[in-house]
Symmetry: C2
Subunit: 344 residues, 2 copies
């Protein structure tokens, strides 16, 4: 079925287009008053994630409110550990907390993985189907998952962390165990992303949020091989790979066939183009804090960014939009991109 | 007066040496049992920092215990905001907290700066003099300060933060006010570092701990010019500049004349050498988590790092040593460096 506005898919395939498509990481969330209202009416963040009808509603809110070029299913990367058998709580103002973590071979043996684990996430697939139906093919729907290393980091550390030193310690002290856990996560993630695609996702994004805390050597050993497995297993899918804080790894992501390489805001467009070449499709990378500026400044910063990348770009921030960003400023960013035209 | 082991100073001056000197960021701290004991006996972290005799004692602990090639004065980068008139509390497990912050021109007008502010830090200079006397010229003594942007980040944000979005918002919304505050911080830092040198510091390190959360454009506008002022004002001093997470800025630090460029662990030696050239003296950059590994692995990782940089290096971690690092592993790192010899 043809999608009415398929700009994002065309760019992801490497086609030349009239203007960059635009969406924002975390667009379905606290920047929207209708989200905050709905969120206040339920028992917690997970009550939204696990309810397909509500997740679909939240997914569509920014589509209606901001007129972005893509929807991204409202969910959480930590549904994967949960499906594997590690429950978590989302603690207000503290973030995720896992009562149990993986430290030993016995912990590992207790985990489900692959299709067996992925089938526990029926509520996500149902949310995708509902969203897809309600979108009526206006714009593409993005499905996503955390990258194996990032999921591993939470499953071992048990919570967010500035250093993830417990998770990294396991890489240094029990590399074989670490690889086994990473493999189980990868198997689950592949099954999960396949089911997401079958449920309606038009393109998939893998978030390696904690890529930046690994040394380049560790990223090569414990992250890239599993991303490569995902890329290979989903050979027919459009894939956006986002390794935040790990510019050293971006060329490897491009080489393994990421259709789109996500960029954080810690790099200039010329430096990114030097790393990745002029034809690699990139996604990003405005500083989220730039949306605190005056409208004229937002317009200027956004236009400069688009000029500097010179095409083959999905316009986005370099990170999720911050919850306290004024909605009018988000709107200004989106409209600036939508009014932009490539010269040739 | 000649320093007995002046290896670190010779390397910082660009001289060829027989082996790399070694010390660890945060070597004076919780890795040492004698520190933890002393710390438990006083009212809090600031009680140690503000007491010259205790600060000197803590500074010397790792010298005696680990036989490192440099001492670094035990202090805190946040003594500068305090000297300027913004008090802070160090809250256990939460980090620094400023009851008042800088948001307006009026807040800014209330602040002391330059020599007037720096003279409030007599206890730091006294700690340096005591340390210097007790060191008896065995090894060099490092003095340090936070970089203007990092100090600004705390003075505006009021605490640590994952995003420092309040501090960055001020850069985007009130750039003139931001520059005025940065100038006041810079003036104070220059006066402070001069007094530290007069009190006995043999070499100075400036920590830009939050460099990595600025976009390259903002780093160019709000960070580099002030670091350049510091470099120019302290033209005769040996200066280590460490901009964590901002590899894009390291060539600029080298160009402004940093004797030593500090490296975080998020870069390989070949990539760092490509950015900075074979002759630039660098400091770093082992992953702090590598010190959780088995001794044989620590030896291997350390030796590989030294080989890969090929000289002109002060061996260190890419960040402060983590408090729960086993002391024997720290010792293994130090000894591996001290047993290393350059081949030519």
């Amino acid at each position: 079925m043809k999608i009415e506005n398929d700009l994002l898919l065309r760019v992801a395939r490497g086609e030349k287009v009239e203007r960059p498509p635009v969406w924002l990481m975390r667009q379905a969330g606290r920047i929207l008053p209708q989200y905050r209202e709905l969120r206040a009416s339920v028992a917690g963040f997970k009550a939204l994630v696990s309810n397909p009808a509500l997740a679909a509603e939240v997914t569509l809110q920014p589509v209606d409110e901001l007129d972005v070029d893509a929807a991204i299913i409202f969910s959480d990367i930590l549904v994967i550990p949960e499906a594997m058998g590690l429950d978590y709580d989302m603690v207000e103002k503290r973030g995720p907390l896992f009562p149990r973590t993986v430290q030993t071979a016995a912990d590992l043996a207790d985990l489900r993985s692959g299709a067996t684990a992925a089938q526990h996430l029926e509520y996500v697939y149902e949310a995708l189907r509902l969203t897809k139906a309600q979108l009526q093919n206006r714009i593409p729907l993005i499905g996503f998952a955390g990258a194996p290393w990032t999921i591993f980091a939470y499953m071992v550390e048990g919570s967010g962390s500035k250093t993830f030193s417990k998770a990294k310690k396991l890489l240094y002290t029990q590399p074989a165990l670490a690889h086994e856990l990473l493999q189980k996560i990868t198997d689950t993630t592949i099954a999960y992303l396949r089911l997401k695609r079958q449920a309606g996702a038009d393109i998939l994004q893998v978030f390696d949020s904690w890529a930046g805390i690994l040394s380049p050597a560790q990223y090569r050993e414990f992250a890239l091989p599993y991303l490569r497995q995902i890329r290979t297993a989903l050979a027919d899918d459009l894939l956006i790979l986002f390794a935040r804080g790990a510019a050293h790894a971006w060329p490897a992501l491009a080489e393994m066939g990421a259709n789109v390489v996500g960029l954080d805001w810690n790099i200039t467009a010329p430096a990114a183009r030097q790393l990745l070449g002029p034809e690699q499709v990139v996604q990003g990378n405005l500083d989220p804090c730039a949306l605190y500026a005056q409208e004229a400044d937002i317009q200027h910063l956004t236009t400069t960014m688009l000029n500097d990348f010179g095409g083959h770009q999905i316009a986005n921030l370099g990170h999720g939009v911050y919850p306290d960003t004024p909605l009018d400023n988000v709107r200004c960013f989106v409209e600036t991109v939508k009014n932009y035209r490539y010269s040739s």
